[in-house]
Symmetry: D3
Subunit: 139 residues, 6 copies
């Protein structure tokens, strides 16, 4: 059984790599490389895998899951300029792929402590683009 909870946060970012030239950054990232940054309403879908508890009929306590997402992701990312305020994005380019990977790192252990398994992190950067990190061997 998989259970998915959605959450949203607003953040700004710049996609550029300090080791590359401005031209190379613009070629790679287009408008995303403009130095003052721009922003998105990111939509996050966190999917947890587990068995349904026969007593209460849930995979895990949804209020606890919500709290784990709030504490480990929203409180850190929401209304922030990622490159300046949220490590590792002072050093790592905050592409959707890298943000999703960082969210996986932040959620994997706390969700394990709730007795469940993080199955996937899906991050929508805009209406026409999303990325997904999955459990190894799951897809």
């Amino acid at each position: 059984m998989l259970i998915t909870r959605k959450a949203e946060f607003s953040a700004s970012h710049v996609c550029s790599n300090a080791e590359l030239s401005p031209e190379e950054n613009e070629r790679l990232y287009g408008l995303e490389s403009r130095p003052n940054g721009h922003g998105h309403n990111y939509v996050l879908e966190v999917t947890v895998r587990g068995d349904v508890n026969p007593v209460h009929g849930m995979v895990l306590d949804l209020k606890e899951l919500k709290e784990v997402i709030r504490e480990n992701v929203l409180d850190i990312y929401d209304h922030r300029f990622l490159n300046r305020e949220v490590p590792p994005f002072d050093k790592v380019v905050p592409t959707a792929e890298n943000i999703a990977g960082d969210i996986w790192q932040r959620l994997d252990e706390p969700i394990g402590r709730l007795g469940s398994k993080l199955h996937s992190v899906r991050l929508h950067e805009s209406d026409d683009l999303f990325v997904e990190v999955c459990e190894p061997h799951a897809k």
Copy 2:
């Protein structure tokens, strides 16, 4: 090839377990445990797996699939108070997980009779919460 059909139904429910104390039920289910019930517009996505028939170009006859969903789910769940009117929810807590599990039981065999395989049942209880039951070994 996977083919997915959406359907909706409106129902009300109470999430509480008669074997637990009111305090324990409130701690577990929050507002969902209020005894008079409340309701949702449930959105159901039924995914069927099969090969594409080389003559008609479809996995299965969509009108038959729609009819199977109507007969086995919508006619039973729609505009009902689940705890009072739809067994097993007189005994089983109608969490999203248990509802999805019950829908899987109701659809698995009739879809098999159409010559296809039920692949997953995804049930959205609200905009920010959905659950999914999949074929064993599929995910």
Copy 3:
């Protein structure tokens, strides 16, 4: 300038009028008249009209608007069986029209106290049905 804030609540209801016969109620309301009730995820859009304050650039303080909606609508309606728990719906049929009218009554004065004018209340009962109450002479 109009500013609109969305909110959601889950509730259950029965549409039937005690002064009518069961047959008449079923003819009028169809499945909505089943006596145990059923539920919806109601989506509410509250639109306020006002001038933009030249200092802070807003029609009104959004946190105050959110609080007014929470206190006067969500705390009263959310996760409730309207006919049994939320007057006047012990006496008045809780159609979408009557719910929207009741929400207008509950919000009109508190929004006036914020120095703005309630412009419209739009209530979505499902994806394909919504009702709207507007200021007199506005539409």
Copy 4:
């Protein structure tokens, strides 16, 4: 007849007024006042009013309308930090209300040159908040 075209842009902003204290800014704007900025996927709906041309059956040439929106709004706002890169937001707080007012100013005359009348500008900052500027006397 009204015709509405949607467009999207991503931008970042800070809501704070240099004439107010940091405490006052935080009280007014909450997380929106954090100094490094954050961002949104803004969704813009531009509504034009006009008669249907009896020869071609349109209110106005949609390709021309799209070009007017691109040239006067998207090219200026998209992937920008509004406070730093898009006047008047170096001096005016970029609330949704002020952004919508600025877009009205930018579009009113060019749409008039297409032979139509700008009817309303609706700007969605997030899924649960939008503002709308209308023609005088229209609402």
Copy 5:
């Protein structure tokens, strides 16, 4: 009080005017003028204005409204090639504006017979384009 019902239909069309040259048609309508036609999932929103009936709490019987839309619009438009099968589009260019105008003509009288007033017809041709016809003096 306004009440809005959504409905969908799939149809194909060609936008071109036989009195214009192919070049002029292509300049005006772009890809929409290709002679074999293409199609859309049209989303229709029909808004009716009326007082709430004090006995049954509704502006009008929703099942009757649904039936009026089905009989006067869906049965005629759905799964049709408009230019070839649905007059007046053998002579009139089936732009979104003209389709909305035709739907208004088809619905105005039957909705009047239900004791209500047709307030607006809104037609979405795609996610980023919709048109709206309103009651005179309403907007």
Copy 6:
């Protein structure tokens, strides 16, 4: 890591098989078999699988992916009558399943040339129906 890009196209089609009788075609495809055709706004989701490049932080260059989808799908399908203008649909019934299969064939190799792997093609024909083709052994 999976990355998904959405795109849309409008097309018309007829679902019928010349080797079957009109009655058999109508029984199989219902309204979809009407000979003049009808249309849809198809929504396409192309999912690519790959490792995140440690230098630029992306699975692949999104502008290149967009270009591959435009060149191999949109330029061929958009604003076309599939049965008449887009082989193999002169011979193959353009059901959603067959269209998704054809899109897989068109995209698999060009995405491989970008150094990534096509993971799935999901095609939405309407709000309540979509099909998906996946990598062998992936689901």
